[in-house]
């Protein structure tokens, strides 16, 4: 691996990423800023791959570049497309600039203390990492070490991460949700809507996405289930599953999807994912083990202790996938429909 031209790659990417970052900040048109920001995320994904961090790259491609750009577009749909220039005083601008430069200098001052990239003696690589690398296959029969660390050795962290996704979804709901029974502000918008944009509906896009969506979902299920062997897992697969439904929302329209996936169902299923994860842990408690210690599940699950961990990881990944999928759909719907859950982008 030493002969890779990593240095040249990285500096090229760094320049391009910086260019994109500055461009997307400098634009007045929010839509182009969002698009350039998407390109920025795609290039970040390339940087992660050049470092060999394929799982992170996958997450960046799915979350950073894909779904969050769609979220931003949905937000712009309800907010208007041009940014108002800030008319603050010059003193305030200088103050803000000084704070930004100061923080950046402070962070950069910590740079020499970092261990060199890939240094085998660094604290990260010398404490727990050798244990993971040596024992993953023996403990859980999972070739992808990242998956084992994520869902087994550090199961608590991932449980709480899933809970964070769930809580974020709830927070967005409680801020943005408008009770459509009470609010009559935008009522004419709702009344005149039904056939409003039928003439411009594109048959090509509809048919293309009709073909794409099942393949996307199969691919996403593969990503969740095959996370033991290849990059991916609950988070990435869940995002792709969510994105497939978002694609339906975009290419047909929101109402079409809302007929199948009502708001209540989405919320229940979002909670269900966290419940699956947590109840796997509770099941371990009942089998005389520690919380999330899948090894003790070997009397329920097929195989011996290490295969029980293998299947435990799979169950947990499914829980993560369900939560992530439905929170993505829910967040998209609430952003696109301006909190009313009737119609939107």
């Amino acid at each position: 691996m030493a002969e890779l031209p990593i240095w040249q790659f990285d500096s090229l990417f760094l320049i391009v990423v910086l260019l994109f970052g500055i461009t997307s900040l400098a634009m007045q048109n929010l839509m182009s800023a969002a698009i350039v920001f998407g390109a920025y995320s795609f290039l970040m994904c390339l940087i992660w791959t050049a470092m060999g961090a394929v799982d992170v790259a996958f997450t960046e491609a799915a979350v950073g570049a894909g779904v969050s750009t769609v979220f931003i577009v949905a937000t712009i749909h309800n907010c208007g497309v041009t940014a108002k220039p800030m008319n603050s005083r010059i003193g305030f601008k200088l103050f803000a600039g000084a704070i930004a430069v100061g923080t950046g200098a402070f962070l950069l001052s910590a740079l020499p203390d970092f261990p060199a990239w890939g240094d085998p003696q660094s604290p990260v690589n010398s404490t727990v990492a050798p244990y993971y690398i040596e024992n993953t296959i023996r403990d859980a029969h999972v070739p992808n070490i990242v998956t084992t660390v994520l869902a087994d050795y550090r199961g608590f962290d991932t449980l709480l991460e899933t809970a964070v996704v769930f809580i974020a979804c709830i927070a967005i709901y409680s801020i943005l949700r408008v009770d459509s029974a009470k609010s009559t502000v935008d009522e004419p918008d709702v009344v005149t809507s039904p056939p409003a944009y039928d003439p411009t509906d594109s048959l090509i896009i509809r048919q293309a996405s009709r073909i794409m969506v099942p393949f996307m979902q199969i691919f996403a299920l593969y990503v969740i289930a095959h996370g033991h062997y290849s990059p991916g897992g609950g988070f990435q697969g869940g995002v792709i599953l969510g994105a497939s439904v978002i694609l339906l929302c975009i290419s047909f329209d929101l109402k079409f999807v809302l007929r199948q996936w009502t708001e209540k169902r989405i919320m229940i299923l979002t909670a269900l994912g966290v419940l699956i994860y947590a109840s796997v842990g509770v099941a371990c408690l009942f089998m005389d083990g520690n919380y999330l210690d899948y090894g003790v599940l070997d009397s329920i699950l097929p195989g011996d202790k290490s295969y029980a961990r293998y299947y435990g990881i799979l169950l947990v990944e499914i829980g993560v996938g369900v939560t992530v999928m439905f929170s993505m759909i829910g967040i998209y719907m609430i952003l696109a429909s301006n909190g009313r859950f009737r119609q939107g982008l």
């Binding site: 998407g38 570049a65 749909h77 409003a196 411009t200 990059p231 994105a243």
Partner: protein, 80 residues
């Protein structure tokens, strides 16, 4: 890729940028696969490239849908 970059940064309209970013996405898929060949684990990188392509598609569809929707709202507003 550099030529497309110019279009992204300068691009007179948003649509130019949209198409340019889409092209960058397509090129990055190829780059991803190349880096997969370099690392010698092509099977892993094919997964990422697939996910990447799908999401790239959705982003472009969403952005263009936004413009379509806005135009239809405008047309609806003007005749009345």
């Amino acid at each position: 890729m550099l030529l497309v970059l110019v279009r992204v940064i300068k691009g007179p309209t948003v649509i130019d940028r949209l198409v340019a970013v889409n092209v960058i996405g397509t090129k990055s898929i190829v780059l991803l696969l190349f880096s997969g060949i370099i690392f010698g684990q092509l099977d892993m990188f094919v997964d990422i490239a697939l996910g990447y392509g799908l999401l790239n598609f959705i982003v472009s569809i969403a952005a263009s849908r936004y413009y379509q929707h806005r135009r239809s709202l405008k047309q609806k507003g003007q005749p009345s």
